[in-house]
């Protein structure tokens, strides 16, 4: 196993001419050669492009040109982010072979900062799932124990960093799809405040919930990446009109005097090993001078229902664009409507069909008020609960996932059991708030446990302060 380098170290060393981008990349490509067959983190490895890119950064350094804040940092991108001229599939047969005509804003910002893209990572089809078992191209395995899932839906991105295939990676989080795989693979994973990071070029799942965020080995790396990718984008009409927050500078501030919320009516069902680590996290923050205060979230457990109506409703609308007309798969038929129906039946997998059906039903005349309308009201209750809780605390701590990484097939036969993986992560997306998962020791079978730090909208600075303290305490 190669030593994991951090993005902060690589960027500094490459810019100073002490390390080449090519050397960093070759370490990753060697790790990919050794283990990708077993892990299956990628849908596509772009080794040639990456080598050209690394060589051009090395040439820039040699010539004394400015190389950006991520010079030589290798990144893997979830395969639902558009990359110009490079296949982007969402792990779905309906998009197989599609090469986008533009780059996502995040992809462009990473390139401008000197990052080197290693490849496109596997996901649950259209980001719908919590284990990466729903990919049309086969599951990703957890590099820490290949009999277990890496989590999902950004499982390939988490596995890529955990296996040393890239320094860092990016995923998207609609209901926990960055934080849960980060927890299951022992990484830091961030779901930024809604509107903080541009969604332009991210293939939409639930447009009022989706955010792009990083997977990293350290909190400092996550802070650096956020500073590069966040900030207003005129191409995304839901982008907040403000610059990226300064986060690297707050990491050493400590948590003295901060108020850490502890939910007294937290949804049940977490395993004892996970709850023990959460208690240890509260203890560590107390030791560091923070105050732990009790808060209540009476509607938190209803978040699951609200989410599994709102997200499929938005998805059923967003995925209407995959109709065999402009891109991707087409199954020929005698008329347009038959072509739509046959193409979508052949192109989408089971879980995507299930959610399109659920969303279509929830939005259909006669059922709208009973399902979608009600879900939006529950969404308001959850946001109100948070607003009340944050009057008495700065951040809230919960488990990220109720359990450590589970085995393949454990939850595939029962969609509801899979949905329950997201009970702690979903409320953040419904409220549009920020949250991150920080590895905090191990649980059952020596597997990593993640603690989730929740913060209000634009609360990234206090969130990162607490995350940094937890990292120091492990």
């Amino acid at each position: 196993m190669t030593v994991r380098r951090t993005a902060v170290d690589i960027a500094a060393s490459v810019a100073a001419g002490e390390l080449t981008a090519t050397a960093v990349l070759e370490e990753n490509l060697a790790a990919i050669d050794a283990r990708e067959k077993e892990v299956h983190a990628f849908n596509l490895v772009t080794a040639d492009r990456a080598r050209e890119r690394a060589a051009s950064i090395d040439a820039d350094v040699k010539a004394g040109r400015n190389v950006g804040r991520l010079a030589g940092v290798t990144v893997a991108l979830k395969d639902n982010m558009c990359t110009r001229g490079v296949e982007t599939t969402c792990s779905s047969k309906i998009l197989e072979g599609w090469k986008p005509p533009y780059d996502a804003t995040v992809v462009r910002r990473l390139a401008d900062a000197g990052a080197v893209v290693v490849g496109k990572t596997n996901l649950d089809e259209f980001a719908m799932g919590s284990s990466t078992e729903n990919s049309a191209f086969g599951p990703t395995r957890n590099p820490l124990d290949t009999s277990r899932v890496p989590g999902g839906s950004s499982g390939g991105s988490a596995a890529a960093v955990a296996a040393g295939f890239s320094t860092v990676s990016f995923g998207s989080d609609t209901g926990g799809s960055i934080r849960q795989p980060a927890a299951l693979c022992g990484l830091v994973g961030v779901k930024p405040t809604y509107g903080m990071v541009s969604r332009q070029g991210l293939i939409a799942f639930g447009s009022s919930l989706d955010q792009i965020g990083p997977f990293t080995s350290t909190v400092a790396d996550a802070a650096l990446l956020m500073e590069v990718i966040a900030g207003h984008d005129p191409l995304d009409s839901t982008s907040l009109p403000q610059p990226a927050p300064a986060l690297s500078s707050v990491l050493s501030q400590g948590v003295k005097g901060m108020r850490i919320g502890r939910i007294t009516d937290m949804p049940e069902g977490s395993s004892p090993d996970v709850l023990a680590r959460l208690e240890a996290a509260f203890d560590a923050l107390r030791q560091a001078g923070a105050n732990v205060v009790d808060v209540t979230m009476p509607s938190m457990s209803y978040g699951l229902t609200a989410y599994y109506l709102v997200a499929p409703a938005e998805a059923s609308s967003n995925l209407a664009r995959f109709d065999g007309v402009r891109y991707g798969l087409r199954v020929d038929a005698k008329d347009l409507n038959s072509m739509y129906g046959d193409t979508r039946a052949a192109g989408f997998g089971d879980e995507v069909k299930r959610r399109i059906m659920l969303g279509t039903y929830a939005l259909s005349a006669g059922y709208y008020d009973a399902y979608y309308g009600k879900a939006l009201k529950v969404r308001r209750l959850i946001a109100d609960d948070f607003a009340k809780a944050y009057q008495s605390c700065d951040v809230i701590l919960t488990p990220t996932s109720p359990t450590v990484a589970f085995k393949f097939g454990d939850k595939t036969s029962n969609p509801l059991a899979m949905y329950l993986c997201d009970v702690f992560t979903i409320p953040t997306n419904l409220a549009g708030h920020a949250a991150m998962s920080v590895p905090f020791g191990t649980g059952e079978s020596g597997l990593p446990v993640g603690v989730q730090v929740l913060a209000p909208a634009l609360g990234e600075a206090p969130m990162f302060r607490v995350a940094a303290e937890l990292e120091r305490a492990v």
Partner: protein, 90 residues
């Protein structure tokens, strides 16, 4: 079946049976919110207070048409080509 038609998904009989069962199970679970009094609650459609975001009305280059059409399943004369739209009732 009606939902599948609205969603433009041609499902076979066994898929319809399986999905009908699974969806019924989920909808049953989702009745948990019936325990809440939602009569005076305003729906929350989206989490941020932005509305009607417009850019200035100035011309800017758009995507290259040939590049876009090159990834279409069928194109002709600079347009997307599709099967007949009218004259074929279901």
């Amino acid at each position: 079946m009606k939902v599948a038609r609205l969603a433009r998904l041609h499902l076979n009989d066994s898929e319809v049976d399986r999905m009908t069962n699974q969806l019924a199970g989920m909808l049953e679970h989702f009745r948990d919110v019936d325990a809440l009094d939602l009569s005076d609650v305003e729906p929350l459609n989206q989490p941020i207070p932005l509305s009607n975001v417009m850019r200035d009305d100035v011309e800017a280059p758009s995507l290259d048409r040939d590049e876009v059409l090159s990834s279409a399943p069928a194109a002709q004369d600079g347009r997307f080509r599709v099967p007949p739209i009218v004259g074929f009732e279901e």
